[in-house]
């Protein structure tokens, strides 16, 4: 239905700009954490920038996002404000969640960031509910649900995909297949060669597609098709975006379970330098312009880090707030 029509040099640059924000943000957070200047519990998305950016340019601010603890790339691609994000990482009162959620649980409904869950697979049933609300109201919103390949083995995945297919929900299930479910290799935990094959189990209502998540154009096209399909009321799509996770599972994970040759080969296909080369080749921007974009982003990150550093932790009285809507306690 949809062709590559619409994928212009400008689209490529938009994707690169979002991806660069993710890359530079991730570099800064890792630097702050590893030097003891921040105490966040952090799961790096390094290597998975392009797929989030290419999906992000296809979404509207009013669309819903559900993601996981390794989800900062998804959040930034959806428009998460940097100040609120870093301040939340730092556990400050000015953070998006007033320091009560932290890096693993970023929420910002003003940008459609509805849930970031710390529990593998839990987001899928919730994304269905957001999509169901959109469907019942006819407001044209779609719900994007991000998760890893490991989440495709939990019961919630199967319950959610069955229901989404049955009810033709405007939801996109974006499986970011980075080859490792925590520390277990994909094929040691998953019975199918590709997660997208599982779409077939949910009938004609569910479309399944595998795409190179590190290829901006391919990922953009798959995202666009899924978003258009959802918005048109034609139902859900399971996208399996192939990618790689360069920084291991948890922060400081030395990744001994990844064969050296595999890691080296993946690193040689780092999507960020490749995307930059594509931008230059398409003449979407010059080296000088890209350097300008990078320094603009760095300045925004500087500002956010300063904002977080200058902010105070929440008042102790916050412990008793937001338990119930009206403030009563048990």
């Amino acid at each position: 239905m949809t062709s590559t029509q619409g994928f212009s040099a400008r689209t490529l640059l938009d994707i690169y700009r979002k991806a660069l924000l993710i890359q530079l943000f991730d570099e800064r957070m890792r630097s702050l954490i590893s030097t003891g200047r921040m105490g966040a519990v952090y799961y790096s998305p390094r290597g998975q920038e392009i797929l989030a950016a290419a999906m992000g340019v296809n979404l509207k601010p009013t669309d819903y996002l559900v993601t996981t603890y390794r989800g900062v790339h998804d959040q930034l691609a959806k428009g998460m404000p940097l100040r609120l994000l870093v301040a939340e990482y730092a556990g400050k009162a000015t953070g998006a969640c007033k320091g009560k959620g932290g890096a693993m649980h970023i929420t910002y409904p003003a940008a459609g960031i509805m849930v970031t869950t710390g529990v593998v697979g839990s987001g899928l049933p919730i994304a269905n509910g957001l999509a169901l609300a959109a469907q019942l109201r006819g407001d044209g919103r779609v719900a994007l649900c991000n998760f890893g390949d490991g989440a495709s083995n939990i019961g919630a995945f199967h319950e959610a995909l069955n229901m989404a297919s049955l009810w033709k929900l405007p939801v996109i299930f974006l499986c970011q297949n980075n080859h490792y479910a925590e520390c277990t290799r994909y094929e040691d935990g998953t019975s199918v060669a590709h997660v997208s094959e599982r779409a077939a189990a949910y009938g004609k209502g569910m479309r399944g597609v595998t795409v190179d998540g590190n290829d901006p154009q391919a990922m953009w096209q798959a995202s666009r098709e899924a978003v258009e399909r959802a918005r048109a009321g034609e139902g859900p799509t399971l996208i399996e975006a192939m990618t790689f996770r360069f920084m291991g599972h948890y922060f400081g994970d030395p990744g001994p379970y990844i064969p050296k040759e595999e890691y080296a080969a993946a690193l040689a296909r780092d999507p960020m330098p490749a995307c930059k080369a594509a931008v230059l080749q398409a003449k979407a921007a010059t080296e000088v312009e890209l350097a300008g974009i990078a320094s603009e982003i760095s300045a925004q990150i500087d500002d956010a880090v300063k904002f977080a550093n200058d902010s105070s932790p929440p008042d102790i009285s916050e412990i008793d707030k937001d338990i119930y809507a009206t403030g009563a306690s048990a």
């Binding site: 953070g95 009560k100 839990s122 049955l166």
Partner: protein, 338 residues
């Protein structure tokens, strides 16, 4: 709204649940029902509570779901995050165990974890209770699990009028509510509530006033207790009966006010005795009223075992009305402190 010309004088618990759902669906387009078999095509629910509602409001709002408790509760959570007021029916309370991640990690906590940016105004209607021979996977009272979870409200009605009023309040409350329906007494009747009846959450009800001993409880044992209180009144024993209505958040003030007056208390519930909500009531009483009590606070509850199937064992498992009476008498016999 119902267009019935003559309002009924009495109604069953089941009628009360249906009335609350009917009113809510009629008054707010954001109200949405999800559950297994709840549509009229499937018979209006295994317990017939939703009978007629999908015909009246459409199968898109009264949605029959697959047997997928995680997906049911997750869909309710998501729709609630988007501002709707979903009511999910989990047929039997033991099946909430399948959806505990959605309930415990998400529904209860997202308001706090988002710093108040989001809320999850869902109602989970779920049926349970021992006494019908449904054994260990269809009978459990699991309210203590949810009462132990910050952010969750736990509601157990003991009359049809309260059932209507409390369920209406749950649906329009901005927090997640677990509404527990007793299977055994579902066809019992009681006075019908007035139209639009609501019972506030978090407030206990002094069902019967008395000066000698307070019996505090919720759900099915309340009916037993009231019958016992009537009988004991003929002996001159004045029993005050406090129905918690909302188990959590618990109305400590009403409990303490009652026990400060009577100086004696018995706590009753159907759930097993150990680590139950009754222990919390006892703890709050002794924390505040130690020294004023004329007797130890006693608990009457079911046995700390798996609910058995066969009648003799199931009866042995369940709390006994005779034990409520015995506890009251024991409390009265205790020597008052000097």
């Amino acid at each position: 709204m119902s267009t019935a010309t003559a309002a009924p004088q009495t109604m069953t618990f089941n009628d009360a649940y249906r009335l609350a759902l009917d009113e809510a669906l009629a008054s707010d387009p954001g109200v949405l029902l999800l559950g297994e078999d709840i549509g009229d095509k499937e018979g209006g629910g295994v317990f017939k509570v939703t009978k007629g509602l999908s015909t009246k409001y459409g199968a898109h709002r009264v949605r029959t779901t697959p047997i997928s408790e995680q997906a049911i509760v997750g869909a309710a959570v998501g729709a609630a995050l988007a501002g709707m007021r979903p009511v999910a029916e989990i047929m039997l309370m033991n099946f909430v165990t399948v959806a505990m991640d959605q309930l415990f990690n998400h529904a209860a906590k997202l308001r706090f974890m988002s710093g108040g940016q989001t809320g999850v105004p869902i109602t989970i209607r779920t049926r349970t209770g021992a006494g019908a021979g449904t054994a260990g996977q269809h009978s459990d009272m699991l309210e203590a699990w949810f009462a132990h979870t910050a952010g969750m409200k736990v509601v157990v009605p003991s009359t049809p009028a309260d059932a209507k009023g409390l369920l209406s309040s749950c649906i329009f409350d901005d927090d997640p509510c677990i509404f527990i329906e007793d299977g055994l007494t579902r066809m019992l009747t009681g006075p019908a509530p007035p139209p639009g009846h609501r019972v506030p959450l978090g407030k206990a009800n002094v069902v019967r006033s008395g000066s000698d001993v307070s019996v505090i409880g919720y759900g099915r044992p309340l009916g037993d207790t009231l019958a016992i209180a009537e009988r004991l009144a003929k002996e001159g024993i004045q029993v005050e009966v406090v129905d918690l209505r909302t188990v959590s958040p618990m109305d400590t003030d009403t409990i303490l006010k009652s026990v400060a007056k009577t100086r004696r208390a018995v706590v009753v519930h159907e759930a097993p005795r150990s680590f139950g909500c009754g222990a919390e009531v006892v703890a709050r009483i002794q924390e505040h009223l130690y020294g004023q009590l004329a007797a130890p606070v006693l608990r009457v509850a079911s046995r700390d075992v798996t609910v058995p199937f066969t009648k003799v064992l199931e009866t042995e498992y369940l709390y006994k009305p005779t034990a409520i009476e015995a506890a009251i008498r024991r409390t009265l016999e205790a020597r008052a402190p000097r």
